[in-house]
Amino acid sequence: MSTRVESVFDNSKLKSLLYSSFNIKKVKWGIFFKNTTLKLGVPAMAIVLFLAIWGAIATQIQTSLGELPGPSKVWEQTMVLVDEHVAERKKEAAFIKRQEKRNAVKLAKNPDAEVKIRPYTGKPTFFDQIMTSVYTVATGFFLASLIAIPVGIICGLSTTIYTALNPLIQIFKPVSPLAWLPIVTMIVSAVYISDDPLFEKSYLTSAITVTLCCLWPTIINTTVGVSSIDKDLINVSRVLRLNWFTKVFKIVLPASTPMMFAGLRVSLGIGWMVLIAAEMLAQNPGLGKFVWDEFQNGSSNSLARIMVAVFTIGLIGFMLDRLMLILQKSVSWDKSAVLR
């Protein structure tokens, strides 16, 4: 009897041992599989589902420009835009080569001859337009930050100045870029008069409109960040009798960096959205103008090309945000903070 019990006991022990070792492996594989599925599989599945639904719906909608383009049509136009860019660059290279040749011949005949070097004036490609947009939004955002950060710091430090500026900030904050644009256009045309302009007027108009819409989140977040600094840290600066600049650079700025960056990121996101609208109306040669031109053009490929622009705008907006995140991580003193 006892031996039997023993053997059963032994057997179960062995079994449980076997199972447990098997289970450990299974669980480990399970976790690995689960993690990979979550990180890559689930988003991939969501994208595939999205493309499928899009493709299915697109065939059902007939517009005056033909059937609404599905994913394959959009991909096709992406390739066309790449080809157009490559072709345009080839033409440019050829133009420059021809010009150099002509000038060299001219100089060989007469070393004192005046040679003219003309820039290539082909139409901007999709990729040139992307660059223009990024450059314009960077200018507008940079200008806005240059104004908004100091204003935010001063508002955070002084209740009087905050009380004075707050109504203005609250009133201007919700104003649409489309309302600013005519005013900015008129002011730029009136003030920026130059025979040899350094910048295009349309570029300035778009950049300033971006600035006007980018200011507010940074100002508000910086103000909140500065005014909520730990009172003890402010007392430390009072006991040490730090002067205003030392206080701002040693205590206020580092303490309010997280809030400031939260504001900057919102600002840049708004700026990018505003830019597309501003470019459409100001005819700044960027992505906004591309969309507008394609809309006016009204070819059977226009909608697909606009959709390429939509995805490009989205991707670049996402990349700009990641760029800010990297910047924030590099200047943040609190390396343990979770930033997303």
């Binding site: 840290l233 007392n235 430390v236 009072r238 006991v239 040490l240 730090l242 040693k250 580092p254 609190d334």
Partner: protein, 266 residues
């Protein structure tokens, strides 16, 4: 040594509230000699910290005033260095840089760069923090942070060192360790110190005089106890010392018999 160093003279303070002014302190009067270690003890909410903040210059007294070496105190300054309860180190600076900020501010133009560096290191060694000099506050323990806070205050060479429950947030063992360090530093530097505490043992162990405050509102000095124990003091040796226990009992009696806890009185 025995001349009048710090005179807290008839200090009253009122804070404005929606229901009219609230009188937190009423005619607090205290004279402190140079090199004296004074503890302020009382139930929470009795205005101990307010007294300290007035001496620091962070608050302005409504009546009366504070005179340090014959000059009235009306703004904060490094001659009255404060050790805050929650260390108040700048989290983005290392221990060294935190002390350096104070040293550069106080000794600008008086010490060379080399001298300043030595002075920062000297003060960090004084609190036994030389091994973690280049760590940030987040990387060191609570006791270590408080040590750096003390080093920062000492490095300013203050006339008066003000400590607001410096060890209140620490566990009992770390606190005992910090008290021993403070005894050691005090023996070497002989600073004038005002320390706020709610720990009776801490008060008796460290102080020359214990100032017991009555409960607020309109709190004031209730009783002053001279602690006449020889220095250097040793916590283990004093545990069975009759006089030590008498002092302890006197403070406890004041706190729990004459001044009930505010909740019980209500």
């Amino acid at each position: 040594m025995s001349h009048l160093h710090l005179n807290i003279s008839q200090v009253s303070i009122e804070f404005p509230t929606p229901d009219g002014p609230f009188k937190a302190l009423d005619k607090v009067d205290l004279k402190i000699k140079e090199g004296e270690f004074v503890s302020l003890i009382g139930h929470s909410g009795c205005g101990k910290s307010t007294v300290l903040n007035i001496v620091a210059g962070l608050y302005q007294a409504t009546e009366g005033g504070v005179i340090l070496n014959g000059r009235e105190v009306n703004e904060p300054g490094p001659d009255r260095a404060v050790v805050f309860q929650n260390h108040s180190l700048l989290p983005w600076l290392t221990a060294y840089e935190n002390v350096e900020l104070a040293v550069q501010q106080v000794f600008k133009g008086k010490k060379s760069m080399e001298e300043m560096r030595n002075w920062v290191e000297h003060n960090l060694e004084l609190v036994h923090m030389e091994h973690a000099m280049h760590k940030r506050p987040a990387e060191i323990s609570g006791g270590m942070k408080q040590r750096v806070g003390i080093a920062r205050a000492l490095a300013m060479e203050p006339e008066v060192l003000l400590m607001d429950e410096p060890f209140g947030a620490l566990d009992a063992l770390t606190r005992a360790h910090m008290q021993d360090s403070l005894i050691e530093i005090q023996a070497r530097l002989n600073n004038t110190v005002i320390m706020i505490t709610h720990d009776v043992d801490e008060a008796v162990l460290l102080s020359d005089r214990i100032v017991m405050m009555t409960n607020g509102p309109a709190a004031t000095v209730g009783e002053i106890l001279e602690v006449d124990l020889p220095r250097p003091r040793d916590r283990v040796g004093l545990a069975n010392d009759a006089r030590y226990n008498e002092y302890r009992a006197a403070v406890l009696k004041f706190l729990y018999e004459r001044q009930h806890k505010p909740e019980e009185a209500a």
